[in-house]
Amino acid sequence: MTTQLEDLFVQTRSENRAALIAYIPAGFPSQEGCKKIIAALAKAGVDAVEIGFPYSDPVMDGPTIQEASGISLANGTGAAEVFSALKSAHDVGLPALVMTYWNPIEAYGVDNFAQEMARNGGSGVITPDLTIEESEGWKSATDGAGINTVYVVALSTNDDRLARVTARCSGFVYAASLMGVTGARTTMSSGAEDLVSRIRTCSTLPVAVGLGVSTRAQAKEVAGYADGVIVGSAFIKVILEAKTETDAIAAVDVLARELVKGVREAR
């Protein structure tokens, strides 16, 4: 059985284009607001969504996602709310993943978390701070649940390790485009394209690039060489800047449609 996410990349490859993947923390800007934004993303033509599990110590996130995570935690977001947001994405037809630091999974119970992912229609989980050395239990849990495991690789990952990490990936490989934390950047790092081509030599999986992508032009640039373009902080920024949730949804719609054009005009 393939996941919805795997089916998506088969489809986008056949259409000779990259997929656009949006990130939003569960419970942000509110529990219901998050679900409305997910629906708006689907309507605007975004291909898949990553639901963030907000965490108290987000060491890989810049100020924008830190702020959103703080708001989400203040809204009482826990595992139940994350799965509820995941289900809402599945309900509007979007392939959906959860992106989370490792400790919330361990606190929930590794097997239970994987099972609950599958039960709510989730395709997979992105675990940016789970090293392959610590991933034995997670591998058997996710194999059992039939969901994808996405690991993040970096510009500093050497070829030998790249082969070992990507061998543990399914669904796609997450290539971090720069050395640093999440957040919008004015220019894309030149290293990302090189990293993607290095991944291609050791893996046939789709490769999605994240970190720093915020504009249509950047989306187009990345979509020229990657199978997926991941945008997070840029969506969060327009939501934070909006005065009301209605304004936020409208702003997300505008940005999403721009980015959708970007990924479709690349090739």
């Binding site: 965490y55 110590d57 826990g78 400790n103 919330p104 999974i105 606190a107 701070d129 090293t131 993040v152």
Partner: protein, 396 residues
């Protein structure tokens, strides 16, 4: 070294939970540390710094007047407070600064709670001509303003961290963000035996000299090993430093005293082993103060240096196999012991260290007057004068 320790594990604890971006730097650090351990030139340079800069070996002081309040046990203090910069922290910092040079890096970053590790890092940076940035929770910069000034005098940049609880854990978060961004040029000089492998092992190796010296000094002074070795524990660097040489001595009890804050039962404490559960924080698996969703719970302690919701993985392991015990000491108990050591022995300890002294007042009564207790006097209290004056309502 067991095979699990080569992967940075202590039983089920330790390991590496970090972004891939840091794996190369951690591997490089591990390799540098392992080669330095076998390199007589490195060891000679470090030993030279110990004797000519830090002031090692630190002395052992017996404190009979204080001991009258601890059941009459013989109490020996390992005087790490007399080290240059005023605490045990210098041992680790000099070792890691030498490794920084060995790796060809020119910039160090550090986190600090009480400011002791920050001051030590700034000191080593000045000594070796390295750029130094210290991340410190805004709340701690207020509690420890004297140490902020010391770091600045030593040429370091101090960055107040305003995220989260504005204490040590948030300073570590910010240091990790800096490191992920600048890892090619920068060494993260972590100040305790926590964090991803190789930090818990490496930092222990740089501090184990405390226990090696103290074991020999105790044998010479009393003609036998102590009945118990006591230390305060936040992340656990001074405790592992004095414990490590005694681990094979099965009849020597190892007791760590955690920050009980207002009392573990109140929820306002930093007693991670006594009141926490197993989880992953800052790159390592250990005991963590966390809620049912795995969110870190804010810790509380009068002592900035112990105010941390995690603990080193080797301590978690020593606890679980029963080789060491860990008990909470409240703010009030610590401050009583703080005042007592000042007035009975003329030694002003760090408030962190006062937790171990309060522990000695309990353990001494349990073990009786024939017993010998060895305490790591990990730091001096100059930095805590303001906090103590506020606590005892001494007008300044």
């Amino acid at each position: 070294m067991s095979s699990s320790e080569t992967l940075g594990h202590f039983g089920p604890f330790g390991g590496r939970f970090v972004p891939e971006a840091l794996i190369g730097a951690l591997d490089e650090l591990e390799a540098a540390h392992n080669s330095a351990l076998k390199d007589p030139v490195f060891q000679k340079e470090l030993a030279h710094l110990h004797t000519t800069y830090t002031g090692r070996p630190s002395i052992l002081t017996e404190v009979p007047r204080f001991a009258q309040h601890a059941g009459g046990a013989r109490i020996l203090l390992k005087r790490e407070d007399l080290n240059h910069t005023g605490s045990h922290k210098i041992n680790n910092v000099l070792g890691q600064a030498l490794l920084t040079k060995r790796m060809g890096k020119k910039r160090i970053i550090a986190e600090t709670g009480a400011g002791q590790h920050g001051v030590a890092s700034a000191t080593a940076a000045a000594l070796f001509g390295l750029e130094c940035v210290v991340y410190m929770g805004e709340e701690d910069t207020r509690r420890q303003s004297l140490n902020v000034a010391r770091m600045k005098l030593l040429g370091a940049q101090v960055v107040p961290v305003t995220a989260g609880s504005r204490t040590l854990k948030d300073a570590i978060n910010e240091a990790m963000r800096d490191w992920v961004t600048n890892v090619e040029t920068t060494h993260y000089l972590l100040g305790t035996v926590a964090g991803p492998h190789p930090f818990p092992t490496m930092v222990r190796d740089f501090h184990k000299i405390i226990g090696e010296e103290a074991r020999a000094q105790t044998l010479e002074l009393v003609g036998r090993l102590p009945d118990a070795v006591l230390a305060c524990i936040g992340g656990g660097s001074n405790a592992i430093g004095i414990f490590h040489a005694f681990i094979p001595d099965k009849n020597v009890r190892l007791i760590g005293f955690e920050a009980g804050g207002d009392g573990v039962e109140t929820g306002r404490h930093a007693a991670t082993i006594s009141g926490g559960t197993i989880g992953v924080l800052h790159g390592t698996r250990s005991y963590v103060l966390q809620d049912s969703n795995g969110q870190t719970v804010e810790s509380h302690s009068i002592s900035a240096g112990l105010d941390y919701p995690g603990v080193g993985p080797e301590h978690a392991y020593l606890n679980d196999i029963g080789r060491a015990e860990y008990r909470p000491i409240t703010d009030a108990q610590a401050m009583e012991a703080f005042a007592l050591l000042c007035k009975t022995e003329g030694i002003i300890p760090a408030i962190e260290t006062a937790h171990a002294l309060a522990g000695a007042m309990i353990v001494g009564k349990e073990l009786g007057p024939e017993s010998v207790l060895l305490i790591n006097l990990s730091g001096r209290g100059d930095k805590d004068v303001q906090t103590a004056a506020d606590y005892f309502e001494i007008p300044l």
